[in-house]
Amino acid sequence: MKVIVIDDEKAMHYIMNKMLGKFSDVDVVGCFGDTPSAIQYLDEHEVHVAYVDISMPGETGIQFAERIAQLKPELHIVFVTSHDEYALHAFELAALDYMMKPVNLERLGTSVERARALFHSQETAAAESDSNPVRIYALGGLEVQTAHGNVKWISRKSAELFGYLLLHRGRVVSRVRIIADVFGDMPPSNAEKYLNTSIYHLRKALEPHGLKSIIQSDSEGYRLQLADACIDVVEFEGNVKRLAQIDSSNLEEALESETQYVGDLFGERGFGWALNEVERLSALYTDFVKKLANVLLEQHEEDAAIRTLNKLFNRNELDEETVRLLLQAYAAKQDQESLEALYQRHVTVLREELDIEPAKELEALYAKLLAQ
């Protein structure tokens, strides 16, 4: 456990160094006479606990703790002071401990024990997340999978919040914007509270998977920071871009990429703020499948073409191009029964839902294919 001491009294550096040195797992990596030099060190080095004096010339220990909470939220603060009037403030700052000078070894021992327990749980979580492949499935639902199994969402809103931060991953989204988009249906005072609770639920749900720290917060808002997670929707989109030209050389890959799209973004969850993104991805998928089906037909892979086109047809029975491709596939397979059934189905749906007749070109194509 790496610790530093911040105190304007040089004698305290000596005392703390000597006392902390008695704990074999504690490593005093630096002693600083003021907070700016400590912050400079913290910027470049890993430190787990800071033992901080409160009354110092320049920035006080309290001001330092406030500032460092934003910069290094994972650093634990232990105040070491001759004043007892700041203890309540220390609780508000979530300081780990508050010790009175002169420091006694037994009390310091309790404090080190407290820090040690926290340090070990964080180490374990960090070690786990290092060897912990994270897979996020956002197509057809919302699942996060780690070596420990699936993340169990504590509340519906916390899952929604995860989905929201996932779309904005790597960027800070302001609290105001989150509230407007995700909690817009409730009065502002409740929304603020609900957001806090949902963040808390979310971290709670991620914690057993060693992922609590991926939800980062600052005074502005929240950010989802994923180091190397595999996100199905990102992979899918990457594949579609890469497979802009489909031919016999990459047909296998294209078929595999098609199967990644197991459903629309977030599936049945139907988040209102995600509608544009759902539409965009759905259009991307549709175009991709049509391109793929054309190639499959050229390559005389009718069965594969029929399988993928039927998925499109089930999504939208009104789409003329899907029907055209599927008719051609059935005709190539000389499956007259399916050819007729499909055309009749399309005609019925057009009449029922739109009260229109099929396009002339499609009618002509159908007649031609039927005659073959």
């Binding site: 609780f91 401990d97 749980s121 806090n196």
Partner: protein, 129 residues
């Protein structure tokens, strides 16, 4: 689920905390105890994750209760509650992780619950969940 137990001998304060806690979906209410001995016995039986302990009690000082509870169950996180901030330094000595000023309002209670559950060493808690 976080299991929460309350030590409080004022019925109005008991009710206030219970109302807030019961409105939180992921906190399980283990009950309110006016007597520190009974609260300790309940902690032995049901292993709370969080205990809220009033400091100003008729029977025993809530700080003494906190030290005792921490000695028996070091992983329980204790939030103390008092009418003033006067006991804050002693609360740190007793091992408290959070401090509430009465009357307890929902916002400060939720804030302190958030803090103590981030500040945690309870790998045993993960297993419970």
């Amino acid at each position: 689920m976080l299991k929460l137990l309350l030590l409080e001998d004022q019925s109005a304060d008991q009710e206030a905390v219970e109302r807030i806690i019961r409105s939180l979906p992921d906190v399980q209410w283990l009950g309110a105890y006016a007597n520190p001995q009974e609260a300790l016995a309940e902690a032995d039986r049901n292993r709370p994750d969080i205990v809220i302990a009033a400091i100003e009690l008729a029977d025993m000082n809530g700080l003494a209760f906190t030290s005792k509870l921490q000695a028996i169950h070091p992983s329980v996180r204790v939030i103390v509650a008092a009418h003033s901030g006067d006991y804050a330094r002693e609360a740190y000595d007793a091992g408290a992780r959070g401090y509430l000023i009465k009357p307890i309002d929902p916002n400060s209670l939720m804030k302190v619950l958030g803090t103590v559950s981030t500040l945690k060493e309870c790998s045993n808690m993960n297993k419970l969940e």
